[in-house]
């Protein structure tokens, strides 16, 4: 029993420190690495909560694919330290104040009105096994699952269009316009 609590507090400390490190690193690469650490600790929490499939998806998709994309863009742009001097000095205290208000509100909900939150019951050993998740995903949630594939395809096409070099598009339209002019000019010459 107490080993669970000990594990929880150690991991929670690591997760919060990693989040703080992400927030206050001056270098964006360090921020990304701290965020990977945070995602890994959250994956361990998922394991503790009996969600092995989600934990593995977290590690492969979040800590793997998404953060590689972040690191790739940071290094592609050379944007590690682009943050300039801070303007609008009043914003920072207001932001901290709002965050504290948010924390106090959620603390009130969690610990004062604690009727919202029950206890964790021990569950059967096959709870949330990949088989159970897959069965639910391909029966009750089949339509959302298929829509997700369309969404990913749309995102892929959108990203390719967004990052396509503008020059190529311009050359293309230039060629089109030149073609039109050439088609028009013999007519003009013939008229003269």
């Amino acid at each position: 029993m107490s080993i669970d609590l000990l594990l929880f507090f150690v991991l929670a400390t690591v997760a919060v420190i990693a989040a703080l490190g992400m927030l206050f690193s001056r270098n964006a690469v360090y921020s990304a690495l701290f965020l990977i650490l945070n995602f890994a600790t959250v994956a361990v929490f998922f394991l503790l909560l009996g969600a092995p499939f989600i934990a593995m998806a977290q590690v492969t998709v979040y800590a793997g694919a998404i953060m590689v994309l972040f690191l790739f863009v940071i290094m592609l742009l050379g944007a590690e330290r682009v943050e300039g001097r801070h303007r609008g000095g009043w914003q920072r205290p207001v932001a901290v104040l709002l965050t504290i208000v948010l924390l106090v509100e959620s603390g009130y909900l969690i610990f004062v009105r604690s009727d919202l939150v029950g206890a964790v019951a021990p569950v059967a050993s096959n709870y949330a096994s990949p088989e159970a998740i897959g069965e639910l995903l391909f029966s009750d949630y089949l339509l959302p699952f298929e829509i997700t594939s369309v969404l990913l395809l749309a995102a892929m096409v959108g990203v390719i269009v967004l990052t396509k070099e503008e020059k190529l598009l311009r050359e293309h339209t230039d060629v089109m316009e030149n073609g039109k002019e050439e088609a028009r000019s013999p007519q003009g010459a013939g008229g003269k």
């Binding site: 998806a57 972040f70 682009v82 207001v94 029950g118």
Partner: protein, 100 residues
Amino acid sequence: MVPVSYYFALSAILFALGALGVLIRRNAIIIFMSVELMLNAANLLFVAFARMYEALQGQIYVFFVIAVAAAEVAVGLAIIVAIFRTKKSIDIDEMSSLKG
């Protein structure tokens, strides 16, 4: 067994840190990472409540959130790259062209 309220508290702390990051940082990439942190805090709470109610639907939701987050990150980073190409900066204070 760890009470669900502890997971709730951890999730609230992580969410608040993510919100703080969105509010105080000026680098668009860091802001984006803070949004990911907030999404992840919500996922943690989903899984904790799925465990509490012994229902798998919460985990299915987390699966969809992860898939949508992957699409969202790809599009968002493409937009940041496009902005960087035209403005040579990803400081969000510079992105005030639409301001009156």
